[in-house]
């Protein structure tokens, strides 16, 4: 930051400038002549000495936080200068401060009426031609930021940024900081970084920094204590360090920021919390989970600032982040507990704010508390960890809450579908627990003596449960019908994702789930399409390849295309069962271990062979089917990898062959009740 104004490095400056131009909507189309329009506002009336006095007094009172007193001067100013943009604008601002920043709806309305009065528009950004108007756009963008409308705010701030050079210095400074914040929030990381560098050259370089700091006196609310030059530069430097740290955390270049964070940790005395969180975050993304837990548990004074002032609940964040850590080390139940605690803390905090009036939803609490509610983020986290804990129904409830906010997130839609699938079939392993399951071959025995009947358990083939109830797909219940809708959304949202590895990875999962759900719902044509698209994906994992062939075979059989189906059931396709692994962002994967059954080739082979036996039955080759079943049976061992359906199918085949006596023998061998 020691680069002085007079040392120029073109190679550095020029590409930077052009980069910013691209990001900020047409920087180049800056007012055709910024003087022209400003003249209309400036010179429509020359300013009298009286007016100057009023304005000075208003500013002085404002800087002393005497908003009521400041507001008095605006009555006179407004009367004598009704068409002065700055007067109209500042009056709205002072009135807003007078309400302790609580009448946000009114302020928004006042800003919009000012937009109207001076023929500028937030919708048509081309109307912003005069650098003097930037301030109202900035303030509106700031409102949007606090309302969590980051994209909309960014659109405005990008336009404002095109006037950064002629802009009054203190405003320019604010615009830059908000711009970085918004770019970071919207994950436009490269632009955020170039903006950070821009700020460093513009504001932190000695001469400009001095100038900026000198103008601090006119910055409202910072008036309380006289600024020491170095402290102010230092504060900005720390702010930029934090920005950089957030950039590196998001890009995964954690090494670059750990040192900075530690210096932040040591350097910042008053507001210690944010660097602590960032440091814990850095440990977390580096996989030092224990260190992260330690920092979160000990390093954060959660109740140091009342939430009315800070506008956020640190305890919510601490619990949430602890939940993230436990989730990653494969303790989803513990993680869920923490997320639940975070949710409670969040709701506790929410209750301390006045309930907003329906007509004025933004009012009644201070501007900086509008973004307090973190429920949707925490609910998402809770939903995913509940899913990993094998609790699909509560997971579904959390995720349906979250999807109301993050409806453009394809992963969330997939997660919802997964909850539906898990509610339908919780575990593939169950069928393989022969010791228990073999007894379920028979559902009951009725009659006695000559009329004794064995009633076979038709539910042994658990995978087929066609819903006969007419149910709207659009009702969010954890059923496959709604699941299929979620998957459609997920697929739609990833259609333009291209071939980025994370998109391909996601798409494989969506396709596998879609094929599964379609088969369950009886839509074999669509199921076949999904299975075929799955098999066409690049770098397909062993598990997905196996599933793709299995699903395709089943769909083809239902469609009556037996030979094609048999092709998919060849054992050659089965070489490995590796689970799909997502592209990794950091050195250590930030995800819990996933377990899936079948987890060994014997079990997978038996499943494939079993389905082949079913196909042979349908082909009418009962003897062949019986042979295949026998070949599966001989692999039986201590940790049996044989599904109970093998017994049921053998029973069926014998019955169809007219071997009722063999069938009876199988029943009696299998079920304890006959022994």
């Amino acid at each position: 930051m020691s680069g002085s104004v007079s040392s120029f490095d073109f190679g550095y400056l020029l590409p930077l400038a052009s980069e910013i131009q691209i990001g900020s909507l047409q920087l180049g189309k800056m007012s055709k002549d910024s003087s022209k329009t400003s003249e209309t506002t400036r010179s429509n009336q020359s300013i009298s000495d009286q007016e100057k006095d009023w304005a000075q007094s208003a500013l002085a009172e404002f800087n002393r936080n005497n908003f009521q007193a400041s507001y008095q001067f605006f009555k006179q100013l407004e009367a004598s200068r009704p068409n002065d943009f700055k007067v109209v604008h500042n009056k709205a601002v002072v009135e807003y401060f007078k309400s302790d920043l609580k009448k946000t709806d009114q302020f928004k309305k006042n800003l919009l009426s000012a937009f109207n009065q001076f023929r500028i528009s937030i919708d048509d950004l081309e109307t912003l031609e005069d650098v003097e108007h930037c301030i109202i756009y900035y303030n509106y963008a700031l409102l949007l930021y606090h309302m969590q409308q980051h994209q909309a705010a960014l659109r405005l701030i990008n336009k404002v940024f095109s006037f950064i050079e002629p802009m009054e210095e203190s405003l320019a400074h604010r615009v830059c900081l908000l711009s970085v914040e918004l770019h970071l929030r919207t994950n436009q990381l490269e632009k955020a970084l170039s903006l950070i560098s821009y700020i460093e050259t513009q504001f932190v370089s000695t001469e400009n920094a001095m100038k900026m700091i000198r103008e601090k006196r006119i910055k409202p609310l910072d008036q309380a204590k006289p600024m020491v030059l170095d402290a102010a530069t230092d504060a900005l430097r720390l702010k930029l360090l934090q920005f950089r740290a957030r950039f590196y955390l998001k890009t995964g270049l954690v090494k670059n920021c750990r040192k900075d964070l530690k210096s932040l940790y040591a350097g910042e005395k008053q507001h210690i919390t944010t660097p602590v969180f960032l440091l814990a975050n850095a440990e977390y993304v580096s996989g030092n989970f224990r260190k992260a837990v330690m920092i979160l548990n000990t390093g954060i004074p959660v109740n140091s600032v009342p939430i009315q002032e800070s506008g956020e609940s640190l305890s919510t964040m601490v619990y949430n982040n602890l939940g993230c850590v436990y989730y990653c080390i494969g303790k989803p139940n513990l993680a869920s507990t923490y997320f639940h605690k975070a949710l409670l803390e969040n709701n506790k905090g929410l209750k301390t704010f006045a309930t907003p009036d329906a007509a004025e939803p933004l009012s009644g609490r201070a501007l900086h508390t509008l973004g307090f509610n973190k429920a949707s983020q925490v609910l998402y986290n809770l939903g995913v960890s509940l899913l990993h804990a094998g609790k699909p129904i509560p997971a579904f409830d959390c995720l349906t809450e979250a999807v109301q906010v993050y409806h453009m997130n394809p992963v969330l839609w997939l997660r919802l579908a997964e909850a539906c699938i898990m509610a339908y079939k919780s575990d593939n392993r169950k069928d393989f627990d022969l010791a228990v399951k073999r007894n379920e071959i028979v559902s009951k025995i009725v009659g006695s003596g000559a009329h004794r009947k064995i009633v076979l358990n038709t539910q042994i083939f658990t995978d087929i449960k066609y819903s006969s109830e007419a149910q709207s797909y659009a009702i969010p219940v954890a059923g496959l019908e709604f699941g299929s809708l979620c998957l459609k959304n997920a697929l739609f949202l990833t259609r333009n994702g291209g071939d980025a590895p994370n998109i391909v990875h996601l798409r494989c999962h969506i396709l596998a789930a879609s094929a599964y759900v379609c088969l369950c719902l009886g839509d074999s044509i669509l199921a076949l399409n999904h299975a075929n698209s799955l098999l066409c994906q690049n770098s397909l994992s062993g598990a997905h390849k196996f599933l793709g062939h299995l699903y395709a075979a089943e769909a083809l059989i239902i469609l009556g295309q037996l030979p094609e189906a048999m092709d998919h059931l060849k054992l050659d396709y089965l070489n490995d069962l590796s689970l799909p692994s997502p592209p990794q962002k950091y050195e250590v994967p930030l995800k819990p271990p996933i377990s899936w059954f079948p987890n060994n080739l014997t079990a997978a082979k038996n499943i494939l062979q079993y389905n082949l036996a079913v196909a042979l039955v349908i082909k009418g080759e009962l003897e062949k089917s019986a042979e295949v079943l026998k070949s599966i049976w001989v692999t039986k061992s201590e940790q049996s990898e044989i599904p109970v359906q093998v017994i049921a199918l053998a029973l069926y085949v014998e019955l169809m062959l007219g071997h009722a006596d063999i069938a009876r023998a199988i029943v009696k061998q299998s079920c304890n009740q006959f022994r």
Binding site: L27, Y145, D427
Partner: protein, 500 residues
């Protein structure tokens, strides 16, 4: 959808051994119709099929025959191909061969239908073909005993065809469904007395045929093993929360309200004048002081490169109409100061491009020269400017002006070369050609000598490159004109100096 226990009792009453043996089939049919309505047809039919399959529940052949007739009777008014239980009749008429290839024991299928005698088969085939039969007036015992019945003649291939077609419309796996009930009579020694009576038949039938989800509706059919896919795994999926410190982003107050920028206004007035005529020394100093005081002022004094489109390439030869040329011509010192202030502007390249496209003049050259010594101008700008100047010199018609400009350019180039602003090698061809063309002018000759010296000093191998040059060089020196020795434009320009 199942029979109520009461309905089942009624059905079993009609099918009782006693009534089947003694009453005419017609009478049984009319009794049957009294008990059951059309709506009950399907569930009654399903119950009848189940009773036929588990034929220990209908121990006498007469009972079976009555059950078959009643099954037919249910949908008698419909065409035979629409009869839902037509496969039963086909099966009864074409029973599977029960001989076992591998063992002496006959084959036994699940839910096997009773085997009919030839007389019964003939009766059934006539019945379903013609819709009625005279023998219905008789008892089942009579029909069974009738030896005069012809062997079955009815051709049912059309029905079978229709049936096969309908089969393709059902789900594949449903086609292979079979009953879930497997007869398993206990060994005789375990039987309790009485071995078989109406009460125990009723009990078993009730267990199979009534209830909320009756066993009669359950079908045993093979299904695929369908694995649920593995859970999605995603790196860094959960949201980690860091404080945003929302209070740091505050609403801004416009501090420039009612601040009449008198300094700025004055500066703008002076600036507007400066485009058109030279300012006085006092005015210049005043403007320069204002510019130094307020670094943002430069953006407010109405000084823009006036570009029609930001994206236009800088070197496409298009001349920008701008205030800059006027400022350079009239007040080069101000121009230099302003450009230096604008160095950090994102538009600086556009100002440069306007500058290098200006008409060649003493002042523009002065400004470019000053910029080159103060900041690192992009080399391509300087090169472009030089080429521009050379072509101006070559094309100008006025001989006097030409001499003047050539001298100017030569001194400028020497200055650039001596200060190592440009590398001669990059422009060697152009500059050398220029020197030769204007070899009559003393400064050009001097420049040429400088070039040669550099060449000797730096590139020893190229000494023999151009003998013609060497011979022309002395003539340049001898024909040198009365050059103004006072001509030293790049040393210093007094602020008061007026354009001559």
């Amino acid at each position: 959808m199942a029979l109520t226990p009461k309905q089942l009792t009624l059905l079993l009453g009609i099918l009782s051994e006693d009534s089947c043996e003694k009453q005419s089939i017609e009478a049984l049919i009319s009794q049957f119709h009294q008990c059951f309505t059309k709506q009950d047809s399907f569930k009654v039919g399903a119950a009848l099929v189940m009773l036929l399959q588990q034929n220990d529940l209908l121990p006498k052949p007469q009972q079976c025959l009555v059950a078959i007739v009643l099954l037919y009777e249910l949908y008698r008014s419909d065409p035979l191909t629409q009869h839902p239980f037509v496969p039963v009749f086909i099966h009864l008429l074409n029973p599977p061969d029960l001989a076992n290839k591998n063992s002496a024991r006959p084959l036994e299928y699940a839910g096997q239908l009773p085997k009919l005698s030839p007389a019964e088969k003939s009766f059934l085939s006539q019945l379903i073909k013609n819709g009625s039969h005279e023998l219905l007036k008789k008892t089942a015992t009579h029909i069974k005993a009738n030896k005069n019945l012809n062997p079955p003649v009815a051709d049912l291939s059309d029905v079978q065809l229709a049936l096969a077609e309908r089969r393709t419309e059902t789900a594949v796996t449903a086609r292979y469904a079979t009953t879930a009930v497997l007869s398993d009579s206990e060994p005789r020694m375990n039987w309790t007395f009485p071995f078989s009576d109406d009460a125990s038949i009723q009990q078993t039938a009730e267990a199979l045929l009534t209830g909320k989800t009756p066993i009669v509706d359950q079908k045993f059919k093979p299904e695929f093993l369908r694995l649920a896919p593995p859970l999605f795994s995603c790196d860094d999926e959960l949201t980690w929360l860091n404080p945003d410190e929302p209070p740091q982003y505050k609403i801004a107050y416009d501090v420039t309200m009612c601040v009449s920028n008198s300094a700025g206004l004055e500066a703008r007035t002076l600036m507007t004048r400066a485009y058109k005529s030279a300012l006085t020394l006092q005015q210049q100093q005043h403007l320069l002081a204002e510019l130094t005081n307020d670094p943002k002022l430069v953006y407010h004094i109405g000084f823009t490169p006036n570009k029609p489109n930001h994206c236009i390439l800088i070197f496409n030869g298009r001349s920008f109409v701008s205030q800059l040329p006027g400022l350079v011509e009239n007040n080069p010192l101000i121009a230099i100061e302003v450009l230096l202030k604008l160095m950090q502007s994102t538009h600086i390249t556009e100002y440069f491009s306007v500058l290098v496209n200006m008409e060649m003049s003493l002042h523009s050259m002065e400004v470019v020269n000053r910029l080159t010594t103060t900041v690192d101008l992009p080399t391509e700008f300087v090169h472009f400017y030089i080429c521009n100047c050379i072509s101006t010199c070559e094309t100008i018609k006025d001989r006097y002006m030409q001499n003047r400009l050539v001298r100017l350019l030569c001194v400028f180039l020497q200055s650039l070369i001596r200060n190592k602003i440009i590398n001669v090698q990059d422009l060697y061809v152009e500059v050398q050609a220029f020197c030769i063309e204007f070899s009559r002018i003393r400064e050009a000759a001097a420049l040429f000598r400088l070039l040669k010296q550099l060449e000797h000093g730096e590139m020893i191998t190229t000494t023999t490159s151009s003998p013609t040059m060497l011979t022309t060089t002395p003539s340049i020196t001898t024909t040198s004109t009365t050059a103004s020795t006072s001509f030293a434009p790049f040393a210093f320009i007094s602020p008061t100096e007026k354009k001559s």
